[in-house]
Point group: C2
Chain length 267, copies 2
């Protein structure tokens, strides 16, 4: 039998409760980015996994993270705090620390997406991608050295953006398929990781690096198993700050996550 414990996402985000609202974990080096820092989506997911223990609702609905310092592999501590437990939603805060220095602060609201009902009206459409098996394996086409984080996911693209082959092409948006490399199907907290798991599209403007200041993700539905279609857009790079909007659509064509992050470029 396969359980989530067999997947690297679950083992690496799991923490041990050591106090009423205190958890310990080891951030592994499997989520390191090409600049040597620990991926923000992994830090966020670790906070959310800890916070799950404190709230009765099963599904992440909305999480906001402010990133304070670069993360790094090693022992870490997460403190949590419940703001409110309500009938329909519950909200808590989490702070992840390394060596007693705050790395990220998170606010998150949980709900039961299985009981959500109410009107639906959708204007947008999933990315118009060929089927995954007709796409390019993104990392086979990648000409840079592959950082550990890139081995956590598989990605398929109709065509890779220019920077992917070392020639920034000026694109402001890109679309691709993604799934966890070890077969772990997505759930809301995996989605919260995935929205920060791709190389920023501002790289296609020749920007060499980008550090997230704030990231908010909203989960719109429990995702169906299988490939997820992503759409990433940056429309406003202003004085070195840029937003990045990220949509994830599941294999049934439903929007399952929307995120926006504000980041600052390094030059």
């Amino acid at each position: 039998m396969t359980t989530t414990a067999d997947f690297v996402f679950d083992s690496d985000t799991a923490s041990e409760r050591v106090g009423e609202h205190e958890f310990e974990l080891t951030l592994t080096d499997r989520w390191t980015t090409f600049i040597g820092t620990t991926n923000g989506g992994y830090l966020l997911a670790s906070c959310l996994q800890a916070l799950c223990n404190d709230v009765p609702h099963p599904d992440l609905l909305s999480a906001s993270a402010h990133f304070l310092r670069p993360g790094s592999p090693g022992p870490a501590r997460i403190t949590t705090d419940v703001a409110r437990i309500g009938r329909r939603t519950s909200t808590g805060a989490a702070t992840l620390l390394r060596d007693n220095r705050e790395i990220v602060r998170v606010l998150a609201t949980f709900t039961d997406l299985g009981t959500a009902d109410g009107p639906t009206k959708v204007n947008g459409k999933p990315p118009a991608l060929p089927a995954p098996e007709k796409c390019v394996d993104a990392f086979e086409a990648f000409t840079h050295p592959r950082p550990p984080i890139s081995q956590r996911t598989e990605a398929r693209m109709a065509d890779v953006p220019g920077f992917w082959r070392g020639k920034p092409g000026g694109a402001s948006a890109t679309e691709f398929w993604v799934r966890m490399a070890d077969g772990r199907d997505a759930d809301p907290i995996v989605l919260a990781f995935l929205v920060d798991s791709a190389a920023p599209i501002v790289f296609d403007l020749g920007i060499p690096g980008s550090a997230t200041i704030e990231l908010t993700v909203h989960i719109r539905k429990r995702p169906a198993p299988g490939w997820l279609a992503c759409r990433v857009t940056t429309n406003f790079l202003i004085d070195g700050f840029h937003e990045e909007d990220f949509e994830i659509w599941d294999s049934t064509g439903a929007l399952v996550a929307q995120s926006r992050q504000l980041a600052i470029v390094s030059t």
Copy 2:
């Protein structure tokens, strides 16, 4: 001489420090919505004004708020907590309480937008609105009773959405000019209020009410004085939850704020 103390936004969001990280204020009834609750943007702005006292950077850059309970006029308390003071940014948390019950939790990052430099590439355009003097005075065209919050701003529209006259027209987006009614020019914290100050565009789908769960606003530039052009969009109403994206462009045609909120409709 006119100072900000002469403006209702400043007097009504001001709090008095009563402890190292504790502030008291009175939430006034001037920001009450049509359902009798206190506007979320006003609550957020009050938290941000308090937090300003704790951080050295002059400008709000990014704020995330999780709304826990409806706000109401009366005495309130704000507790603050500094997460990190850095060279380029500082981040803190604030919680607003009424009768010792948490109403909203906020994380916010501040910077000095006056010294921001770095590359700029903008894809979007300001709303294509006629000049304010050629537009309709939105509230003169409003056929519902006007709640107090609607008297805090002036708005001009090329055409009012259907629900404004009692006939929902199914629009998913709208554009309008806005400014504070008493002549207070916008600054980053006023922008954080304004992104939550308009009637939700889902009302044009016949939705009778909507409560914000989470709102994040990013300030992209210090706004120039004068009218501000707004664009509001809701593309995804799913099982009773919807996002609302809000852009504010200043009188020079620059994008000055971007926000997204996740809200739940009442039926």
